[in-house]
């Protein structure tokens, strides 16, 4: 088993760290949401990867097929994607309201406006 054998998990970890870093480092509220999305997408790939079985096909009963991939992680992640979409929608809606209230979506400018109150 080589170190690249599980390359999908490397992609997961890479995306996870990229997303996490964007959330932490960026001051722009929209970019933070983008980072959060990348972070969540990495977990989606993690779930989908673990349902895969070598040589397995889609889990549909058919003649001459005896190996199926596990469909449960896919179903689970469908739910998680829905949760992710809802979170993104709510987050962006909040950003729109913040933009209306403050006239900016930059974190440092928002702080400056609040501390001058």
């Amino acid at each position: 088993m080589s170190i690249l054998g599980h390359y999908n998990y490397w992609i997961v970890i890479f995306l996870m760290m990229v997303g996490f870093y964007v959330v932490i480092s960026h001051g722009n509220l929209v970019k933070k949401i983008v980072g959060l999305n990348i972070f969540q997408a990495s977990v989606f790939i993690l779930y989908i990867s673990m349902g895969k079985i070598h040589g397995g096909t889609a889990p549909i009963v058919a003649e001459g097929v005896s190996r199926y991939s596990n469909p449960l992680p896919h179903v689970l992640i469908l739910t998680a994607i829905v949760v992710g979409v809802a979170t993104t929608a709510l987050g962006l809606a909040l950003v729109v309201r913040i933009n209306e209230a403050y006239g900016t979506v930059e974190e440092d400018e928002i702080h400056a406006k609040d501390s001058s109150l």
């Binding site: 972070f39 977990v43 673990m50 949760v83 979170t87 403050y102 928002i110």
Partner: protein, 493 residues
Amino acid sequence: MIRQHLPALQVILPLLAAPACLLLRRAGLAWLFATVVGFATFAIAILLLRQVLSQGDITYALGGWSAPWGIQYYVDPVSALVLLIVSGISAVVLPYAARSVAREIPSERRCVFYTLFLLCLAGMLGIAITGDAFNLFVFLEISSLSSYALISMGQDRRALTSSYQYLIMGTIGATFILIGVGLLYVMTGTLNMQDLAQRLPAVATTRTIHTAFAFLVVGLSLKLALFPLHLWLPNAYTFAPSVVTTFLAATATKVAFYALLRFVFTIFGAEYAFNTMPLGPTLMLLALLGLFVASAVAIFQENIKRILAYSSVAQIGYMILGISFATVTGVSAGILHLFNHALMKGALFMAVGAIFLRTGSMQLQHLAGIGRRMPWTMAAVVIGGLSLIGVPLTVGFISKWYLIQAALERGWWPVAVLVLIGSLLALVYVWRILEAAYFDAPAKPDAHIKEAPLSLLIPTWALVLANIYFGIDTSLTVGVARQAASLLLGVQP
């Protein structure tokens, strides 16, 4: 017939009532409907608790699919107690909401407010009742998403930024939980909690399970605002509408605490969490640090809601301290404090909301002399504050008593001393509120500030009296907490 479906009704009722609220289109009607639903869920929770105590645990296969394939609802004394406190708080808060929401939320948003409130309630009840690890994540997100939206309804524009901050941190926490659950599934092939508990020991030494444990504990600690992951909490509680602050302060962190109990004790088992993994010392250190730092910060706040919010972070420290002992007395002290803290913080935030209704301010300096203008409301603050400090005859005393007992049982007397010093810090910040309210002369005589209306006073005092009642008659709370703790630790009561 209907008795048998009570576990499902507990969650389905508020979940289905939520969109119905939106369809009613009239704020008054939506409020009335939500209140009826709130009381109905409370009644169901009481019935469930009685059934659990008399006939033992209840399992309910959702849609007739038996576990481990289907989603299972599982009610044992721990979950029954959490169901009781969450639905009980909602039943007290909803009658209170009518006047407070009318003051703080514009009329076109009030129907949406009750919809979100019921959704949040459904999510929290779902967390407490489900026996499926992934289902728990879904309910956690239902309650979190609705609470982000509820917080953003605050009048101050900072409500928006604090809601956004909570959304970012909460989502990171939830994603961590999702990763943890996924890693558990990959090693065991199951999501049912009891099935997980049976299959985990075989693979417990693998690195994947270690990682899953770490992700789950950190994710849940974010949700329950364990120091230093509490940063979202003070702003969210300060700028949210009063009703939302009351409801979330009394329930949201408690439910996350319950989820931590479930994962640590039911799924991983105390043996794994405290002997294989260093959970005990980690939690104890963070709990004690949180207790002192948050209490110290609370002392220097000028906004009364913010004082109470930081105090919440400190009180979460007490709960976590309880489980870090990993003994029956310790865990039951944690569960007791979960229940008791919901009562005291509920009462305090309700009284503060009543003050806001009359004065329109949360700043300590504007509250000078309020004790004479609103005697009943301030009396509620006094009793709630005494409970927070842990004065005998209030619930706060009971949980601290058991906490100190747990520390002494282990022979860790310095921890017991630290708990007592923490109470002294609580005395200081509670005193600051009382000093402003009773001893400072009002800046200008405001004759128009009068006592809060009865629709606010009655729910507030209902919780205040509960504070005293459960501080004197502890047979129900201590009995259930002990039973729950022995169950979680797997020892005979």
